[in-house]
Symmetry: C2
Subunit: 335 residues, 2 copies
DNA sequence: GAGGTCGGTCGAAGCGCTTCGACTCCACTC
DNA sequence: GAGTGGAGTCGAAGCGCTTCGACCGACCTC
């Protein structure tokens, strides 16, 4: 491995000069700079990450804690993770991948070892155990999600209340008066991962204003679960003409079952989903949907981290405006 | 931050003793060990990762390069990534997440900076640009996938040839004589990501033995693409009674279209998929499938890495035996 | 022309850890 | 009773980098 000292010797300057060429923290004459850069090129020098971290107490690593549960919401998580990794690189950071497995202890370990300069936590629960540890670790952190107490923390998330409201608005505008909400699996509510509740809150509030009756039912993914849920919904509210689907894994089963029951989408029944655009456009009916902007969330969270590390930090909640795209799954309520 | 020196002072021993307690590389008396461990506890000491890496020239980090293309095969990739991260932790390693974005240069950067002790590459192509760089970086590496030249490299993958053969075997055993293969998107073949070709090779070879006619057609995911592909298949081979589906995103559209055309599964047509078990069990028809053992692949690749770093390394190709599970989508060919 | 300023460079002191050699005891051996 | 060897501990020398203060000309200013 080539070291900084070797580069310095090769270029006929001192080690510190090379370091300053690299970091730009002091001015260097053009001629020296060029000479050093040439040596770096020729020798194929790469600064040693460990030495750098030790001397500067900055590792240029951001830790990303993803949820362990691989069973829900996977494409979104993956998209966020990839967006985080790629945008981190554009800011000169690498990303360390932590799974929920280790639990809150991971926060302590990473903070204690100075392995990462900052952390991004995904899938934050309302009363997340990691938050107290995070707060008194003093480490920079950004959450994707919205806990109950956001004081001293930066949060990035989709505005799920507005998302819920937007869905209701759309359906109400089309004349629907009885709307069923296909929620997330019951476990998601039990964990109090705020987004599910917030969506429903948004739906409820707007529904009241708009004179829409809401029936909210949690639902696991898959056909069997969806069939049962759907039967019960039409049982209780035969007049249901609108559906808001929160759970991605329920989208395709729902469309399929409706079709089998001879209910045409969108003539008899309208469906609005909250899901990534890709899911909406690849479904058997092109879905009217509110997009989950996974990439944007990843990108923003990195930008917040970088800003905070650069001292331009802001402790604030950064809620993304939801956007509803009308496609082929929603239309006027039948008369 | 608490340092090793502070722990040493608190415990009344020298710094090196604390280090040896931590690493176990020299014998330490029980009483000293206990005293040191207590001090570590009380002070909440965590070794500084950078200092450790610098002094020992081991970072205890494994770099994982995931493909950038988030559009294909996502759940499998995610599952592998999570499995890699969690099993790495059980061996004392953390995982650095690299995306394809940076391209082959990432290999050079990581190797050069000693940021990671080893690399795991996913989505390896037949003639992958990263391999030459990897070889002469001298860094430990494990590939998930199978390149053309495996010399000096350890590879972990599902035995896709056997997978293809297994599918044909199953269908042939049920009496099917005309089988269509719904392949991956054309782009996948163009990139020469070996697995797709290997599966087809396995299918072809076994088909010849078994007297089965094969029609192989690449197919994008989604309904529109599948509809076109399916129409052309029945056009060319009206007697087709068996389907082997490689592309996960085509599974649901295929089932749906077959249903719409009045072809019952499995009475009229049998379907065998190559996909994770979760997809197979959550589909509208419970699918007979060969599982893609994502977790197992992640776990094994970490084990290979750890073995190699520990000097117990083996340059070998570690192909996982495919397993076919019969579910509700396949049955005897109609007479 | 003395004093001040600033751009450009260097030397040296760490950052917190690992590891090697050396040292001390103590229990054995012959 | 000297010699041997292992167990347990310590001190010191780095690992490769950043960064601070110092230094040296060159250019201004009054």
């Amino acid at each position: 491995m080539v070291t900084l000292a070797e580069v310095a010797q090769h270029a006929g300057v001192s080690a510190s000069t090379v370091s300053y060429v690299l970091s730009g923290k002091r001015s260097i004459s053009a001629s020296t700079r060029e000479r050093v850069e040439l040596s770096i090129q020729q020798l194929g020098y790469h600064p040693n990450a460990g030495a750098r971290a030790l001397a500067s107490s900055r590792s240029n690593i951001i830790a990303l804690m993803v949820p362990l549960r691989t069973d829900m919401y996977v494409p979104v998580m993956m998209e966020i993770a990839i967006a985080v990794a790629t945008s981190a690189r554009t800011h000169g950071y690498d990303v360390l991948l932590l799974t929920g497995e280790e639990g809150p202890a991971a926060v302590r370990r990473i903070a204690g070892s100075s392995l990462a300069d900052a952390m991004i936590l995904m899938d934050v629960e309302l009363h997340d155990e990691r938050l107290p540890l995070l707060r008194d670790s003093g480490r920079t952190a950004v959450l994707i999600g919205l806990p109950a107490d956001t004081s001293g923390l930066t949060c990035v998330d989709l505005d799920f209340e507005a998302t819920g409201a937007l869905c209701v608005d759309h359906l109400a505008g089309l004349g629907h008066r009885e709307v069923a909400v296909i929620g997330e699996a019951a476990a998601v509510y039990e964990r109090h991962t705020g987004f599910a509740e917030r969506t429903v809150d948004g739906i409820r509030a707007k529904a009241q204003d708009a004179g829409v009756r809401i029936l909210h039912r949690p639902c696991e993914g898959g056909y069997a679960a969806m069939a049962g849920t759907l039967a019960r919904i039409f049982d209780e509210r035969p007049g249901t003409t609108g559906f808001i689907v929160q759970n991605e894994a329920a989208v395709e089963p729902l469309l399929n079952l409706l079709q089998q029951q001879g209910r045409a989408v969108p003539e008899d029944v309208s469906v609005v989903a909250v899901c990534p655009d890709q899911v909406a456009t690849q479904a058997s009916v092109r879905l009217t949907s509110v997009a989950i902007p996974a990439q944007e969330m990843g990108r923003r969270s990195v930008e917040q981290v970088v800003a905070k590390l650069g001292g331009r930090g802001t402790d604030e909640v950064d809620l993304l405006e939801p956007v509803l795209t009308v496609r082929a799954s929603s239309g006027p309520a039948p008369v």
